[in-house]
Structure formats: structure tokens, C-alpha cells
């Protein structure tokens, strides 16, 4: 496999010239072009400049909602990301090329930037039968393995590629499987949500590019910066929960006052996401603000922790079938703590807060 494209500076150095020779060359170039010294500095920068990070975005069992969320980003806006920050060499949603030419783009990037490109995956991979998702006559499984091999790192966008999501809900007819379970030996950044918040997606990309490193991840591979708080703890209606003030039916008097949705089945207490902090669509709102309980879309198996409008009675699969990563335990404890608070506060008349 060939290496990544060197910058001009790297090429000059590789041919045995020193940095002093390189600066001299830039100065001569500047003189030829009639530039002042400040202009020469710009040439030096341009020659040394890194090429934009090549990115391959694969689509498997998905609804394209993550791509749609990505283009909703307000800072930075997506045009600036794809024109100035990354080189989005393959994405079936936006790329001009199709068919054979699209495949060429994919393979060219995979070869030319082997070990250097960033792989983004939207969607789960069917493993019950590989033919449940084919692109260009090849299976999703095969395409993922091939693309992952030369990737520097992998970002799993959305709950499908992180956890399998809706198609993995019981009985998971196609054996929808998350990326991390199929790939070994590569850093995988899980960015769950159905879809993830646009600015969270952009934020992960910007973090990689600006600080040249992967953001700190938690035990589930999620960037701590965006997934360390429960929606419940960052919810502006939290004081209503603490005060035992609950909506009992949609559009009732309590709903019109903006009370807490816990009794309507809100999953905020068991959901880790940025909805309460960054909010959605440039801070316009988030589900609870717009009158609907959180359905927990950034958590594994949230589809099977229903029905949505009933108070969650248990943490999914706590106990007999848990895996060793401990997340269920964390979530379980959080839920238990909340339930205790809830029980104590269930009857507002027992509340001693003089403000209420």
C-alpha cells in the first residue's frame, strides 16, 4: 500500500535538502513573484501546510438521519467543514460521483491515504445474513472490514452504528450489529443518538482536527465531553422533579406549566446526552422543552425498554445478561437513586419547599 500524499516541504526534505534550503527556495519564489517578506511567510506556511484530513463515510443499515443531522450543524456550518477542514472523499449522500466512479474514489482514498484517513460509519451491519445489505455487489460486512483496515480511527455515528438501534430491537430480524463489535484493534469513537445532536457531531470532528487527538472516551467509547451528563441532571425542568411537580397527562394544566415528565415515561434519568446543555438545532429547543418526554435515544436497547409512555420499571437487562463493561450497573444505580427521590417527592404535600 502506498503512503499518504506528502506536502511539498516533505518532498523537498525527502530529496535531501535542508530546511534552510527550503526557506531559501521560498524566498526566491517570493522574489520572482514580487512579494514582500510577509508574502514569503505565507508561501512557507502553504508549503508546509497539511493536506485536509481525508474522510470516508460509509452507509449501511441506516436512515441517513445522521447525515441529515450533520448538515444541520451551526458551528461550524457544514460547508466550512467539507470545504476547509476535511476532504470528504466518499459519502453516498452528497458525493457527485456514482457507481464505478464512486467506488474508484473510495479505493483511491483507501490506498493513497492508507493509515491516515478517518473512517465514519453510519448504520449497523447485518450479520444474520450478509446479503441483507450490499453495495456495489459487496456486503456491508466486507466493505467495513476493508475500509477499517487502513483507517487511522473510526467514528461510529448514531445509535445504529454504536448499538444496532431500531433494527436491532427485538427480535432483531437481520442481526443488526454495531461497528465496535465487528472491528478489532482500531480506536472507535461512539457518538450515539438517534440521531446525535448536530453540534456534537461537528464538535467531535473539530476536536480531532484542532487538538490533533481523540477526545477522552468513557467505557462505552463515547466522548466524555458530550456524554458524561444525564439528560435528567441537565434538564431545566429538574427542579420540578425535585419538588414533586409532574405532568400527569399531555396538555393538562401541569403540562401547560412546564412540569416534569417523569410520570409520562421520561428516560432523562437513564440517558446520557447533551440535549439539555447544547440543545437541538442551534439551541432552539430539545424534546422535553417541546413537551415530550425523552425517549432515551442515545442509550443501547432503548427501544426495548418500553413502552415509552410508562415509567421505566427497570434498567434493560440488568442482572442476568449484563456484559462486563459495568454500564448497566452505573445506569441502574442512577435509576435507583432517582426512583428513591421520586418516591420521596411523589406527594407534593410532603414537600417542605416554602417556595412551592
Amino acid at each position: 500500500m502506498s503512503k499518504k500524499t506528502p506536502t511539498l516541504y516533505e518532498e523537498i526534505r525527502s530529496k535531501g535538502y535542508s530546511r534552510r534550503d527550503f526557506l531559501k527556495f521560498c524566498g526566491m519564489m517570493g522574489a520572482m513573484m514580487g512579494l514582500e517578506y510577509s508574502g514569503v511567510t505565507r508561501i512557507v506556511q502553504a508549503m508546509e501546510m497539511k493536506s485536509r484530513l481525508p474522510v470516508v463515510w460509509l452507509h449501511f443499515q441506516e436512515c441517513t438521519g445522521c447525515s441529515e443531522s450533520f448538515i444541520r450543524s451551526s458551528h461550524p456550518i457544514v460547508a466550512d467543514i467539507i470545504l476547509d477542514k476535511i476532504s470528504l472523499d466518499y459519502t453516498e449522500t452528497l458525493m457527485a460521483a456514482a457507481g464505478q466512479q464512486a467506488e474508484e474514489n473510495l479505493h483511491q482514498t483507501m490506498e493513497k491515504y492508507y493509515g491516515e484517513y478517518l473512517l465514519m460509519v453510519e448504520g449497523s451491519v447485518p450479520t444474520k445474513n450478509n446479503t441483507y445489505c450490499c453495495i456495489g455487489g459487496k456486503t456491508a460486512y466486507e466493505i467495513l472490514q476493508e475500509a477499517a483496515e487502513g483507517a487511522k480511527a473510526i467514528i461510529a455515528w448514531g445509535s445504529c452504528s454504536c448499538y444496532g438501534n431500531v433494527q436491532a430491537a427485538a427480535p432483531n430480524p437481520t442481526g443488526a450489529t454495531p461497528v465496535k463489535r465487528l472491528i478489532k484493534g482500531k480506536p472507535v469513537i461512539n457518538v450515539p443518538g438517534c440521531p446525535p445532536v448536530a453540534e456534537v457531531m461537528a464538535g467531535v470532528v473539530v476536536h480531532l482536527l484542532t487538538f490533533d487527538r481523540i477526545p477522552q472516551l468513557d467505557g462505552l467509547g463515547r466522548p466524555k465531553v458530550f456524554y458524561s451528563c444525564r439528560v435528567h441532571d441537565t434538564c431545566y425542568r429538574r427542579t420540578n422533579f425535585d419538588d414533586g411537580l409532574f405532568v400527569e397527562s399531555f396538555d393538562d394544566e401541569n403540562a401547560k406549566r412546564g412540569y416534569c415528565f417523569f410520570e409520562m415515561g421520561c428516560r432523562g434519568p437513564i440517558t446520557y446526552n447533551s440535549c439539555g446543555v447544547i440543545k437541538w438545532n442551534e439551541g432552539t429547543s430539545f424534546p422535553i422543552q417541546s413537551g415530550h418526554p425523552c425517549i432515551g435515544c442515545s442509550e443501547a436497547y432503548f427501544w426495548d425498554n418500553g413502552p415509552f409512555y410508562e415509567i421505566f420499571s427497570s434498567v434493560p437487562d440488568l442482572g442476568t445478561e449484563t456484559t462486563a463493561d459495568g454500564i448497566s450497573l452505573t445506569v441502574g444505580m442512577a435509576a435507583v437513586t432517582n426512583m428513591t427521590t421520586y418516591t420521596v417527592n411523589k406527594h407534593p404535600e410532603k414537600n417542605t419547599d416554602p417556595g412551592r
Partner: protein
């Protein structure tokens, strides 16, 4: 001598679509389209609370987000006999309108424009001339020489970087591109502008539904409460924001989208106004109820079927009639218990996944047998085109003045006959024309909502059937809607308070399905026949026609494995 061309993946669509065509003497003589991904959402719905179904089905598609949620709540409400309050209907309509404007603009600029606009040619344009041209057909204030010049410099720098990103390997320079460099520059500039604008209009979804993509819906109404004296509910500030977003959207549609559409169409009308017509039957369920979902006569988009392009007659549709809408699987990777040539009404839809295609990696599908994950729906046995063209034709043929006005004005502007509508370009133009109508209707509906609230009605939810104890032991429902891509319907059977059967027949199932047992092609395949292909290595013409349908394949393929054994997936990591 025929040659087979395969285009897979078809990019700039939602989902995984493969096209195989046979070419003879430079023209397509046979065509096959295949949906190559399946998820099984319907099987997953079985046994669940019907009030949760909207959230599952909404995830069928994130490009046309909201549409399945709307169809789903209507379906459940139909089954349980729930009528939603007027405010809820109008808020749903505003979300519907916002979705149309966002989706159609994104389709035109980000999914379809590169079929007509040559990005590389734009680099040769004279920015001042581009500004003069743009100003001659639009008042959009950003169409200035400085704006086009800066934009051109930015794109030039991008191209010179050698990393072409999403523009890499496009069919640039193909002789089927006909626009002058200046129009190409306008197209590229507005591509970027539309990309920035589309994130604004969806804030309407965030206000009413908390987020976009995938805002929240509710059986019995909408989740957001109205309280003009409360910060945590819909109040004057929230409504003012909705109003501004709708006004800005209407301006964008009228000053950018429509002028660009007409300008581009004027260069392609002679050939592409006569290519890609395909089927001659059109179906629309209609939508945008302004007097409640039960009063179909007051839908802004009327309901009906047109057969054989006869615009003098609009036929009635009944989603509950087992003889009208049926799905076939003769060429789809499923099996029916009664044999593969029978048709099933969705309430009885029973299907098993059964892949019989070639072992991957494969070069060619076995098109004589089964070749797609998409089933084949028929109306009284007829293949139907659905989507913007069908809606506009049904509106036109129903004698609605608003439709006649926009259609006749566009035909006059382009100086083309009515028959030009039945084409690839006609389909693309119809999408723009209905966006213009929707942008106007959105303001009407908004004003209606405000006046209803002013009159003292703040209800957004009907609580009477929320409790499952109030439900009958068995109920059946159908919910009809018009997604941006066309006629969308969900069918439900509820037994013992849970979902017993759930079926979706979606726009791209109609348009992008394989042949039926009688060999009849569906809309996409049929529209490709006769299309000239200048360069088989670069089949730009195929993309033009397929993109004119705006296919959505995740929507189209959603079937389930009836015999699927329960495999509890727990070991995520």
C-alpha cells in the same frame, strides 16, 4: 448488440439502490432497479404499544423525517377513532410544510443539481455577468458581483488543493451538461447557500417536536402545550420564531429555488422535457387537511388517481378496499404462503425474507428471477407513479385554481406544452412548483392557528382514548399521507392492546419497485426506457432520471422475517 451498465451505488439519494440497464444503439432498452438493504422494522413493531409506533416508523427514514411519524399517528388514530384538536392538526401541517420546503430544496441543490450543474465549468464564469444574470430573474440580495467573485475564488482554491472531496470524479465536462459557466456559478453558489439555509427551516420542527431530524409526535395530538403566559410552553416568542422561519423560507423558495429551477430548465427543456416520462398513471393520497383529516375535500393536496394521462378524470382511492392496493413479490426476495404471484392487501401482508440473489461479491443480478428487497405495489393491478408530479397532476386535473396557476405560469415561462410535464424535467419542475404552493399555504395555516388560539382554543391533545383500557379488543386502521417523495400509507391491526400487524407502503416502493408478476415495470424502470446514453462509462443520463424521483430506499425496504427467530442481541461490546 446490447451492453449492460451497472450503477451501484446510486449516490445522492437516501439508501442503497442499484440500477442495471441494457443499452442498444446508444439508448436504454431495458432497465432493472434493486433495493439492496433490508432492516425489518415491521416485524419489530409486532407486540408493541401502538402509541410507540410513530417513533419506530419515523426511523425508517431520516431524510424524509417526520413523514412516517405522521402517517403512523394517523393510522393509530384511525384504528381507535380519535379526532385530534384543530391546533394539533395545524401544528402537524406546519411541520409537514417545513419538511417539504427543507426536503425539496435539499433535493434540488444537494441531490439533483450536480446532474445539471457542472462545478468545474463554474470556475470559468465571469462573476459580474453571473450577478447580472441572477439579478435579471431574482431579487435575492446576495446575487452581487462581489459575492459570486468571492465564491468563485473559494471554489478555485478548493479545486487547486487537489483534494476534490465530494466533487471528486463527478461527470464534469460531460457533453450532456449544457449550462453556460455563469449559470453553473449561480448553481454552485446557491448549493452552498441552500446548505446553510436548510438548517434554519427545520427549527420549526425543533419548536414543535423538540429536535430535527426525528422530532416527536403523539397519538391524539401534538406533544407541545400552548400557554401564552408560560415560558415552558408555546407562547408568543415561540410563535414569532415560527413565523419568521416560515417567512424566510417562503422568500428563499421564491427568490432562489424557483428562479434557479426555471433558469436551469430553460437550457434543458428541449431534450429533457421529452425524456423520462415512463408510466402514464399517477396516484396521490392527498394531504394538508385544513378542516380536519376526516374532511378529504378540504385537503390542500387533493386525493385521486389519473390513468393513461387522462387529465379529465380523477378516480377515487380507498385504502381499506382489499382489491385496490396490493403488494406483489414475484421479483422481490420474499416468499408468500399462497405463492409468489398473488397480491396481498397490507392488512393481510405476511412476508418472509428469502434471499435468492447471487452470492456476493457479484457483478450482475439475476433479473429473470428475484432481484430486489423492494416489494411491488399496484392499484387495481396498475403500476403507479407517485410524488410531486402525481400530486401536481391530480391537483391540476381536479380543477384546483392554485395548481392551474403555478403550472400554467411555468409552462408559459418556459414556452413548453403540457405534455412536457410527463418527463424527467417535468418531475423536477413539479417538485419546485408544489414547494411554492406549500410555502404560501404555510403562512395561511400559521395565521389560522394564531386566530384559533386568539379565540380561546389552546387544546393540542385529545386525551379520551389515551388509556388502553378504552380501546376495543381488536381494531384496524389506515393512515394516508403525502411524503415529499409521494403517496405514503401505513396499515395497522391492533389486538389485545398491542400491534398485531403493521405494514407500510411507501413512495419509493411504488416508484422503485421491481416488475410485477405480469412483467409490468414500475415507475423508475419504465422512465429509463428510451433514454439516450452518450457515454456508457459515464451514465449521467441515468442519474438525471432516477434523481428526478428523489428515491428513498430505506423507506422502500422495510419488510420482515415472519419466521425470524428471536435472537437477543446483548453483547454490544
Amino acid at each position: 448488440m446490447t451492453a449492460r451498465i451497472v450503477v451501484d451505488p446510486i449516490t445522492r439519494i437516501e439508501g442503497h439502490l442499484r440500477i442495471e440497464v441494457e443499452i442498444q444503439d446508444g439508448k436504454i432498452v431495458d432497465a432493472y432497479n434493486s433495493g439492496t438493504m433490508v432492516r425489518g422494522i415491521e416485524k419489530i413493531l409486532k407486540g408493541r404499544d401502538p402509541r410507540d409506533a410513530w417513533a419506530f416508523t419515523e426511523r425508517v427514514c431520516g431524510v424524509c423525517t417526520t413523514v412516517h411519524a405522521l402517517a403512523s399517528v394517523r393510522t393509530v388514530e384511525d384504528a381507535l377513532d380519535i379526532v385530534v384538536p384543530p391546533n394539533a392538526e395545524m401544528i402537524r401541517n406546519l411541520m409537514f410544510a417545513a419538511q417539504y420546503m427543507q426536503d425539496h430544496v435539499v433535493h434540488f441543490y444537494h441531490l439533483h443539481a450536480f446532474d445539471w450543474v457542472d462545478v468545474i465549468s463554474a470556475l470559468k464564469a465571469d462573476p459580474a455577468a453571473a450577478a447580472g444574470l441572477a439579478q435579471s430573474f431574482s431579487n435575492w440580495p446576495r446575487n452581487s458581483p462581489g459575492y459570486f467573485s468571492d465564491l468563485q475564488k473559494r471554489i478555485t482554491k478548493f479545486v487547486e488543493s487537489g483534494q476534490l472531496g465530494i466533487f471528486q470524479n463527478g461527470y464534469w465536462g460531460h457533453k450532456a451538461y449544457k449550462l453556460p459557466p455563469e449559470v453553473n456559478l449561480i448553481g454552485v453558489a446557491h448549493y452552498l447557500e441552500a446548505l446553510e439555509w436548510q438548517k434554519e427551516i427545520v427549527k420549526v420542527h425543533a419548536i414543535f417536536g423538540g429536535k430535527n431530524p426525528h422530532p416527536n409526535y403523539l397519538v391524539g395530538g401534538v406533544p407541545c402545550a400552548i400557554n401564552l403566559d408560560e415560558a415552558n410552553a408555546l407562547n408568543a416568542e415561540r410563535f414569532a420564531m415560527v413565523q419568521k422561519l416560515l417567512e424566510d423560507a417562503k422568500t428563499f423558495v421564491e427568490q432562489v429555488y424557483i428562479p434557479d429551477l426555471l433558469a436551469i430548465a430553460s437550457f434543458y427543456k428541449n431534450d429533457w422535457g421529452a425524456i423520462g416520462g415512463g408510466l402514464t398513471n399517477y396516484l396521490a393520497y392527498g394531504d394538508l387537511p385544513v378542516n380536519g383529516y376526516q374532511d378529504v375535500s378540504q385537503f390542500k393536496f387533493p386525493r385521486g388517481v389519473i390513468l393513461n394521462r387522462n387529465l379529465n378524470e380523477v378516480m377515487e382511492i380507498d385504502g381499506t378496499d382489499p382489491e385496490q392496493i396490493q403488494e406483489y413479490i414475484a421479483h422481490s426476495w420474499y416468499e408468500y404462503t399462497d405463492g409468489d404471484t398473488t397480491g396481498e392487501h397490507p392488512w393481510n401482508g405476511k412476508t418472509n425474507l428469502k434471499y435468492t440473489g447471487p452470492e456476493p461479491p457479484y457483478d450482475q443480478l439475476n433479473v429473470a428471477g428475484k432481484y430486489s428487497w423492494i416489494k411491488t405495489p399496484r392499484w387495481k393491478g396498475h403500476p403507479m407513479e407517485v410524488g410531486p408530479l402525481a400530486r401536481v397532476l391530480v391537483g391540476y386535473a381536479s380543477g384546483r385554481d392554485e395548481f392551474k396557476e403555478v403550472v400554467d405560469a411555468a409552462l408559459k415561462h418556459l414556452d413548453v406544452p403540457v405534455i412536457a410535464l410527463f418527463s424527467t424535467l417535468g418531475r423536477t419542475a413539479a417538485r419546485g412548483l408544489e414547494t411554492k404552493l406549500v410555502a404560501g399555504w404555510a403562512m395561511e395555516i400559521f395565521n389560522q392557528l394564531i386566530s384559533n388560539i386568539k379565540n380561546g382554543d389552546t387544546r393540542t391533545f385529545n386525551n379520551s382514548k389515551w388509556d388502553p383500557k378504552t380501546w376495543p379488543d381488536e381494531a384496524k386502521g389506515v393512515g394516508l399521507s403525502e411524503a415529499p417523495r409521494g403517496a405514503l400509507a401505513h396499515w395497522i391491526v391492533i389486538k389485545d392492546k398491542v400491534i398485531d400487524n403493521y405494514q407500510l407502503v411507501v413512495p419509493s416502493t411504488w416508484n422503485a419497485s421491481p416488475r410485477d408478476p405480469y412483467g409490468q415495470m414500475s415507475a423508475c424502470e419504465s422512465s429509463l426506457i428510451g433514454t439516450p446514453i452518450a457515454d456508457p462509462e459515464k451514465p449521467l443520463e441515468i442519474l438525471r432520471t432516477i434523481h428526478s424521483f428523489d428515491p428513498c430506499i430505506a423507506c422502500a425496504v422495510h419488510m420482515y422475517d415472519e419466521k425470524g427467530t428471536y435472537v437477543h442481541q446483548l453483547q454490544t461490546f
